[in-house]
């Protein structure tokens, strides 16, 4: 599972980014779109998120050099960038055996589970993370997991989670933009105060990705 991953698909590259409100999914999607456009690619993107920004599920698609549809069909995502385990499993129908997945294993506990009084059904627990990961692995062999929240924290702020995840995606070298090209484009567009943190976070993601794709087992 090296350079053959994700190759040989129909037109374009279909990337799905999923997470919860406040994790920086939309910013990540926007940056990706902009860098592809900057490098002369054709891009469409779509958003799926409900009523309020506050803590809900967020799905964002970025389709590079594909057609005009902003949404990805069942089993047709080339890449899934999962910021959160439950949200990644929610997006399972987009996966096929060829989909490459980068998955942050750190859960965001939905507040309904923290306050059981509103729970009318279910067992009131966040599903077992290992069980969630094995669901994803059952769909595709190309699953790369890491604790990206921890990596972001180690870079200086949990807010840099999206940069770790983008680092994973772009470090794969499976997209028509390299990690270096992305960073030199992206850095000017990020808040200057967080530049160092974001840089560290992004390259932590890149390194992880490179070690995954080199077949080295990441701890």
């Amino acid at each position: 599972m090296t350079s053959a991953e994700g190759a040989g698909r129909s037109s374009g590259r279909r990337i799905l980014i999923v997470g919860t409100g406040g994790q920086g999914v939309l910013t990540a999607a926007r940056l990706l779109c902009d860098v592809f456009v900057d490098r002369g690619h054709h891009v469409v993107s779509g958003q799926l998120h409900g009523m309020a920004q506050r803590g809900g599920s967020v799905q964002s698609s970025v389709i590079v050099d594909g057609g005009i549809s902003p949404r990805i069909g069942r089993g047709r995502a080339d890449f899934v960038v999962g910021f959160e385990p439950v949200e990644t499993v929610r997006a399972l129908s987009f996966l096929s055996e060829q989909t490459v997945v980068y998955l942050n294993v750190a859960p965001v506990i939905p507040f309904v589970l923290g306050q059981q009084y509103v729970l009318k059904e279910g067992d009131g627990r966040y599903p077992d993370v290992e069980k969630l990961l094995s669901c994803v692995r059952e769909s595709t062999p190309h699953v790369h997991t890491l604790d990206a929240t921890e990596q972001a924290k180690a870079s200086g702020s949990t807010k840099a989670l999206n940069m770790v995840m983008l680092g994973c995606l772009l470090g794969s070298e499976l997209l028509p933009v390299s990690a270096e090209q992305f960073w030199s484009f992206g850095e000017a567009r990020l808040p200057p105060a967080l530049r160092k943190v974001n840089h560290a976070a992004f390259y932590r993601g890149v390194e992880h990705s490179r070690s995954f794709h080199a077949g080295v087992v990441a701890s």
């Binding site: 129909s10 549809s69 902003p70 939905p110 969630l132 669901c135």
Partner: protein, 629 residues
Amino acid sequence: MAGKHEILQDRPGGHLCTLGNLAIVRGALEAGVQFFSCYPGTPSSEVGDTFARIAEDADIWFEYSINEKVAIEVAFGASLTGVRSMCSMKHLGLSYASDPASTMPYVGVEGGMVIVSAGDPSLITSPNEQDQRHFSRFLYYPVFDPATPEDARLMTRYAFELSEKTRLPVLMRPTTRVCHSGGMVELGALPAKRNEVRFVKDPTRYVPIPTNAKRMRMELSDRFRRAEEMLASSPFFPRTGGGRRGIIASGIGYAYVSQVIEDLGLSEQMTLQQVGAYPIPESVLLSFLDEVDRVLVVEELTPLVEECVSLAAFRNQRSVEVFGKHSGHFPIENEYSPDLVEDAVRRFAGLGARSVPSVDVPALPARPPVLCPGCPHRTSFQRVREVFGKKTVYCNDIGCYTLGYGEPFQACDVLLCMGSSISQASGIARTTGQRTVAYIGDSTFFHSGLPALANAVQAHDDITVVILDNYITAMTGFQPSVTTDRCHPVASVRKEDEVHRENGSPFSIEDAVRGLGITDVFSIDPFEEGTAREALKAAKTGRGVNVVVCHSPCVVNDRRSRKEQRPVFAIDQDACNACSLCVRQLGCPAIFVVDGEYVIDQDLCDGCELCADLCTRDAIRPVAAEVAK
């Protein structure tokens, strides 16, 4: 051009990846729009919010109107002076504004006028779905139905020309998926400014009293026919591919189906016809029907295209088989998805169903929206609930406070549409004599609550109206409301109404309410427990219509201008006896129960103190704010 919004780039021929809503703005700018009004509403809000940001640079008259009816009327007035005008709203807004909208085509515009009314199939952020394409038949509006941002730009630009040539106001109707999807648009030229305008008096032309309206009625049919002719030669009905099997598609369905037939390798074997506008010119339908014998219609909501195709075939003796909603290939409810479209195309093309591997998935917890930590509405609900109790009937309205529905406040027994809390309370209180509270926000109150309140006064109803003034239109993305002080940060106006006015806001809810003859008017800050409770008790025992105005800023908006970080709170595990009061009564998403222990997530806590006030054991106390929060 430093500092200017990217949508203002003067770079003809260049490309930009932008949202459908922004592409509409760009199309309007390329058409030389000079006047814009709107009332926010998802999924249309980015149209108005973008105009708000560029109005000064682009030299455009701009307003967030008090409601959609006013927005349309103001823009129509501007159009009568000869300027090109636009206004935007969500589908519900156009329903609200349908009175002026229904007569505008009769009177006719002078400067081109385009109404953007965004639809919401699948009720993603709305209580109903509507198919506004029917405005073409219902009220003689040419209606555009874009599939992509580039469609949205080109159609909007063209719509102004169509409007001016036919004197018809034109409807631009994108749906959520088009509004909020990003795509490539080509940048067209931005025109130079137009000259000064004047309103030229001509009452027989502008006054639809019956004698004039009867004449206008006959002219309207001519003008609508002319619009159909123009559309017939417009670029919004492209046809691609070839073969006796045809697909005719509109809106986002067109985008999905073009991807699906590419993925299935059918692009070359099918004739694909887009419908970009209504009325669909019959010439378009006939030339399409010439090429095909079997047709699949792909359109969300009502079978409008489907019926037009069937009717055109029937009237012109073309024998084609038409598939779509009537044949069960598609539902009439909800938006489509690429998968739904793929299944229908496979069935239509005689391909087998696609097998999808199924994986056993554990039950996944939902993430429903909740009031933010520190939200003033939570505090108001808590105070009111304490005084008015469980038996009171709570009529709620449209805003963040709708989230008072369900546990723990049960602050929403009925809900209908903007402004309806007060009128529904009247109906319930008058017939039953039950204690009734109407909750309504600042923006919604001035949108349509004011007439309902006047009505309640006139009818001598016994109701309590609680106006939740958070100085902003929060739910739709923090647009200013009439109580927002635009010159001063909202943070400085936390206290009484007096302070608020000194800071320069022209509006006082209290003055407006007293002006209706209501004498029992109480101004409170919900966070001041004692005074809030006294006022609410007085309101509960009062007769007639009384009003409690709760002033406290939306914390999300307030945080942007807050100078000092408020201390956040933590629960002392030794003092906490797990009575669960804070969780059961507040529903603050910062408080969690982890393995029986009550804890506050300090990244989420906003430091409102409400839980600390409530705790009988004094277990909840402030901690120094984290440095790198």
